[in-house]
């Protein structure tokens, strides 16, 4: 009889794509293996998956969160090592970084996609107001001022209610420019820089300035609110992640463009957050490891990358073989990889392993800064104190 593989995932939105495109493509090539995509709502995914692992009822293929979450599962023996999977050679070390042990010896998830931060803007609005794409911080705020003065549009669609918007779309979006991407991140991990140092506080100071350009009641504005605000054409600029592209394409009735985070001074090197987001791993206790590996190998193939990246514009393949994408906005985002230095989100690797959790704290403090609850300095201090309480950088 056919063996059936079950995929655990938090991507409920992708159900249709898996069922209609990806799975048929795989099954056509691999008779005898049936694949089932069984997503869990994202809010419950981690907890549910953890429980299933503990009780031994988790699916064969596990969709991997990046970095420590998956590393933890690997350490617990829930995820199998995939170092020897043939398809892994299709990925660069950077691509694999999110799912490799600290010492780099073991890889345990096949990288599927990364997301890039930047700003999506309402082209119609920019055209109407005669605003050019801002490249520097000054131009950026000049543009915001202009939009605000005009009054037709809310300059920027972002809320602090859900906290993570402020951290992810705000701090992690513009931050790399100030802390110099990977360079700063490495220093932070090594303990050579602290969150209270200027490169890490400055993004907060910039964020604080955003406050004036956000919509009324942004404190209670949720992420979907922000999305709707922008797609309904009421806001001009949207601090974005590339994953929005798919949805925005279907919902926005106007032309959109995108620009990377503006640099501080003209001519500075630009940095983008190009963050590994999704991988696929193997449940170490799967009853069908061979078939599952076959499947994972296929996930590592250019064929998969092609289908996936085009079906989900904004989720960029990490495969070394370049993927040709149809979507102009997606092309725009991915083109920044050429001119700017990519980095991953600063809090994701190593620094969020302890309690208090730096990522979570960053969410809270980013929102606090914009809300005015904390000054940038105070926020940074809180974060650093929290980090210090458990993190001892390896000297």
């Amino acid at each position: 009889a056919d063996t059936e593989l079950t995929i655990e995932s938090w991507r409920t939105d992708d159900l249709a794509i898996w069922q209609e495109k990806l799975i048929p493509a795989f099954e056509a090539k691999n008779p005898g293996i049936k694949v089932k995509f069984a997503p869990t709502p994202p809010t419950e995914y981690d907890a549910a998956l953890g429980a299933r692992f503990d009780a031994g009822s988790a699916g064969d293929i596990i969709t991997c969160r990046p970095f420590d979450k998956s590393l933890e599962q690997f350490k617990r023996g829930n995820l199998a090592s995939l170092t020897d999977l043939p398809g892994m050679k299709n990925f660069s070390d950077v691509a694999k970084a999110a799912w490799t042990t600290d010492d780099g010896k073991d890889a345990f998830c096949v990288p599927m996609a990364s997301v890039i931060h930047g700003f999506i803007y309402n082209k119609d609005a920019f055209d109407k107001l005669g605003i050019a794409i801002p490249t520097t911080e000054a131009e950026f705020f000049a543009a915001l001022d202009k939009i605000k003065a005009d009054g037709t549009y809310i300059p920027m669609a972002m809320g602090t209610k859900d906290l993570w918007e402020a951290a992810t779309m705000g701090y992690q979006n513009i931050g790399p420019t100030y802390w110099k991407g990977e360079e700063g991140r490495a220093k932070l991990i090594k303990g050579e820089e602290k969150l209270t140092d200027a490169p890490w506080v400055e993004p907060y100071k910039v964020l604080l300035k955003w406050k004036d350009y956000l919509g009324d009641g942004f404190e209670a504005q949720t992420y979907p609110d922000s999305q709707n605000l922008f797609t309904l054409g009421r806001a001009a600029i949207y601090p974005a992640g590339s994953w929005e592209i798919g949805l925005f394409n279907t919902q926005a009735q106007f032309k959109m463009g995108a620009f990377p985070p503006p640099v501080k001074n003209a001519g500075d090197a630009c940095y983008i957050s190009d963050h590994n987001d999704i991988g696929a791993g193997l449940n170490a206790k799967s009853k069908h490891p061979e078939e599952a590996k076959k499947f994972l190998d296929w996930v590592a193939s250019p064929e998969f990358a092609d289908i996936y990246a085009n079906a989900l514009p904004g989720f960029f393949s990490l495969n070394s073989t370049p993927v040709k994408m149809q979507d102009p906005l997606a092309q725009e985002f991915v083109s920044w990889r050429e001119k700017c230095k990519p980095t991953i989100r600063s809090t994701y690797q190593i620094l969020s392993r302890g309690t208090p959790n730096l990522e979570n704290e960053t969410w809270v403090e980013s929102a606090n800064v914009i809300n005015g609850t904390d000054t940038p300095e105070a926020a940074a201090k809180k974060l650093q104190d929290g980090l210090d309480s458990w993190y001892k950088p390896a000297k």
């Binding site: 809010t43 981690d46 907890a47 953890g50 970095f67 420590d68 979450k69 933890e72 350490k75 809320g159 602090t160 209610k161 859900d162 906290l163 993570w164 919509g215 009324d216 009641g217 942004f218 404190e219 209670a220 504005q221 949720t222 609110d225 709707n228 605000l229 809090t347 994701y348 969020s352 392993r353 309690t355 208090p356 959790n357 730096l358 990522e359 979570n360 969410w363 809270v364 929102a367 606090n368 809300n371 609850t373 904390d374 929290g386 309480s389």
Partner: protein
């Protein structure tokens, strides 16, 4: 005792044993990948470590506020509604009952979603409604402000759960024999004073029950805060209650990895808090409360 057996069996096997299994973890911790017995160390961490302690006390404080708001808003409204519903020969009684109970029937997912929309400054429903009564200036993004978020969330919870005290009290009021109320009518004890002097004393045990249920429910609450304010219970932890703290700790959140031991520790503390409340009720209050047979 035959009457107790089925309940005891199912309950013990499916509920108590798993929970004990979990609470047991509060005495263990993972050291070098091994689970070892650490005695009360976890508790020492929870209360001794300034960060843990700060989160815990913050959650506890918020929880008390949460509970307080329920006690002074939800239960009186519930009792009042029940009293109104039990007005004899009330027309449309069934309709009111269903309508008033509807929020309680809704899943917290729905409740959270709807109220976020209504209170959303973007959607504009509440500013619009306030405008209708000329109070637009009072509007503010309540859910996003540390000062008002907890109250707003509590009130949403009240809105949702007011049906529970209402139904319980209503059922209790139905139990009061008509003739006692008729006697009161003849005695001139009507309306308000009938409620205070006759009905209230007779439903007092039920009020005791709803108070303790509110207490237990509130100190276990989690879902609504979680859906409305997220697992971090923002802004700035202003709506963090024990339930959300426990959830984050036990199951992990985002990059935070679930810490079963500390989670179980918090759960144990919560359990002890609730247990002492319930014991207080069972042994001190309930025993003194008189019950009347009708």
């Amino acid at each position: 005792m035959v009457f107790l057996t089925p309940a005891l069996l199912v309950y013990t096997a499916v509920m108590i044993l798993p929970l004990i299994e979990t609470l047991r973890l509060s005495l263990f911790n993972v050291k070098d990948g091994q689970s070892v017995f650490v005695g009360l160390d976890n508790f020492a961490v929870l209360f001794g470590d300034p960060r843990w302690a700060a989160s815990f006390w913050n959650a506890l404080k918020n929880n008390f506020i949460f509970f307080f708001i329920h006690m002074v808003v939800q239960n009186p409204i519930g009792v009042a509604l029940a009293a109104l519903l039990s007005v004899p020969k009330l027309r449309f009684g069934a309709f009111y009952r269903t309508a008033l109970f509807l929020p309680t029937l809704l899943s917290f997912v729905i409740v959270g979603f709807i109220w976020k929309l209504i209170l959303s400054p973007i959607w504009g429903v509440s500013p619009f409604l306030l405008d209708l009564i000329g109070l637009k200036s009072l509007f503010s993004p309540w859910l996003g402000k540390p000062g008002s978020a907890l109250i707003a969330v509590s009130l949403i919870s009240v809105w949702q759960y007011v049906g529970i005290p209402m139904m319980l009290i209503y059922a209790a009021m139905l139990n009061i024999p008509d003739e006692v109320l008729e006697a009161a009518e003849c005695d001139g004890v009507t309306g308000w004073s009938q409620f205070w002097k006759i009905k209230l004393p007779l439903i007092l045990p039920s009020i005791g029950i709803i108070s303790i249920l509110t207490f237990v429910g509130n100190f276990n609450a989690f879902d609504l805060v979680y859906t409305v304010q997220g697992a971090l219970a923002g802004p700035d932890g202003a709506t963090d209650i024990l339930g959300t703290l426990l959830y984050r700790t036990f199951f992990g959140f985002q990059l935070q990895i679930g810490d079963k031991s500390m989670g179980a520790t918090i759960a144990t503390v919560m359990f002890l808090i609730i247990l002492s409340g319930v014991c207080l009720y069972l042994f001190a209050i309930q025993r003194r409360m008189r019950r009347y047979q009708f």
